[in-house]
Subunit: 243 residues, 2 copies
Amino acid sequence: MKAIRQKEAADSISCAACSLVNLCLGKGLDQAELDKLDQIIDKKTQYDNEEYLFHSGETMTAVYAVRSGMVKTLITTEGGAEQITGFHLPGELVGLDGFGDDRHLCNAVALGTTTVCELKVESFDWVCEHIQGIRAQLMRMIGEELNHEQGMLLALGQMKADERLATLLLSLSERYKKRGFSALEFNLPMPRHDLANYLGLAPETLSRIFSKMHEEGILDVSGRDLRILDMPRMRKLAHCSQC
Amino acid sequence: MKAIRQKEAADSISCAACSLVNLCLGKGLDQAELDKLDQIIDKKTQYDNEEYLFHSGETMTAVYAVRSGMVKTLITTEGGAEQITGFHLPGELVGLDGFGDDRHLCNAVALGTTTVCELKVESFDWVCEHIQGIRAQLMRMIGEELNHEQGMLLALGQMKADERLATLLLSLSERYKKRGFSALEFNLPMPRHDLANYLGLAPETLSRIFSKMHEEGILDVSGRDLRILDMPRMRKLAHCSQC
DNA sequence: GCGCGCTCTTGACCTACATCAAGCTTTTTT
DNA sequence: AAAAAAGCTTGATGTAGGTCAAGAGCGCGC
């Protein structure tokens, strides 16, 4: 089957050798701790574009760390409405929502070809008990996730459409930069539709704002390729001097 | 000083004897574990209405479990905009956002006279390492918090004003019920202004929706006292058959 | 190479909600 | 108890952004 073939483990790279180690669960670990983590992690399962890592309602089996590509998480209502709740970059965790009652509330979907490392729930508690460094880093990552979602609540609750987009672009810019990519020039792996949904806007509105930012010389847009031309103005729009 | 007087510890009740134990960190613990938790928790610090538990930017010193009353958390922008990110009922945790970088991102403010139990950060890691039951319950509570925030993203991103209010009222109803209070009749400890802010609406809009729900026989409203008259319709509004 | 189906953009119009403004009710202060 | 200040509701009006509709660009299979 297609799905099964795709999920064959790719060649393993140890956490110690992984370029993302300082953004991921392995941050701050000594060699012995990293070795233990390596033994427990299932590395680099690959997913195609739009392929699901897990669905809402499924029993949680693992926590996922994005290795390459991107993962979006989304929730739905009975009415068929859908809200994208996050875009997850390499080094970020996906699936923590399942801890609430052992079932995932959200769906996780690959955006473009994506590889992830899995930490099985069976191992999770053992790791938390025995590896202090991972426990600490996990709490840090959970805190960041909570902070990020609160920032989105602020965006959706209080900001205008252009401010919301600026907030998202700055967040992506910053996160790409941390990963060694350009903070000013990057590619969006998701369609406008997804961006608009994430920002609580209609795709048409989002498109108009892209155009407006382009006219005003804040942003170069060519399809999904972006270049931020005027960072100060972008920051001003997002009401965020530090980010 | 006033603030200091208020923060004198009230009479201690053990976690084992606390009526909230099955909603709080102590859920599922055996007697020995509960005893340890008791030794570590600082019990029942009291706050007045509008008094801050902590401010944004302050170093995290503890995680707080609401014991009585209510706590709202909110974040602000440079521009002075403010978004309430949560209303926290007895048994719920406040302050997890501080794990991101040891500083709180949000502010936590008492709504009405409120008492909280504190678990100091210095003790936190020890507890997580040595008391499996607390570690498990903590992860459960974190998962619930993440789920709840994702639900709010859905509300703010996709729902109409009346649907957002219905969602909030059902959430409160359910949570009061879990605490042994009526699911249909309860009192809101916060002003309309706060509710509106939380829902991303103007206070005037919120007021109009309360009036409309009243006219339609869905809700009895008298100031901050509410009674849900037509639960099925309320659920329908919230697009949420289970909640 | 050509047609088909996406994705994205732009325009015209409309509506849900914000804003502004006034009065009313409840609480707090003196 | 009176006065002042909050909090809440209701009405009138304005607007940001949604919806509907029509292309335009672009990749893809045949």
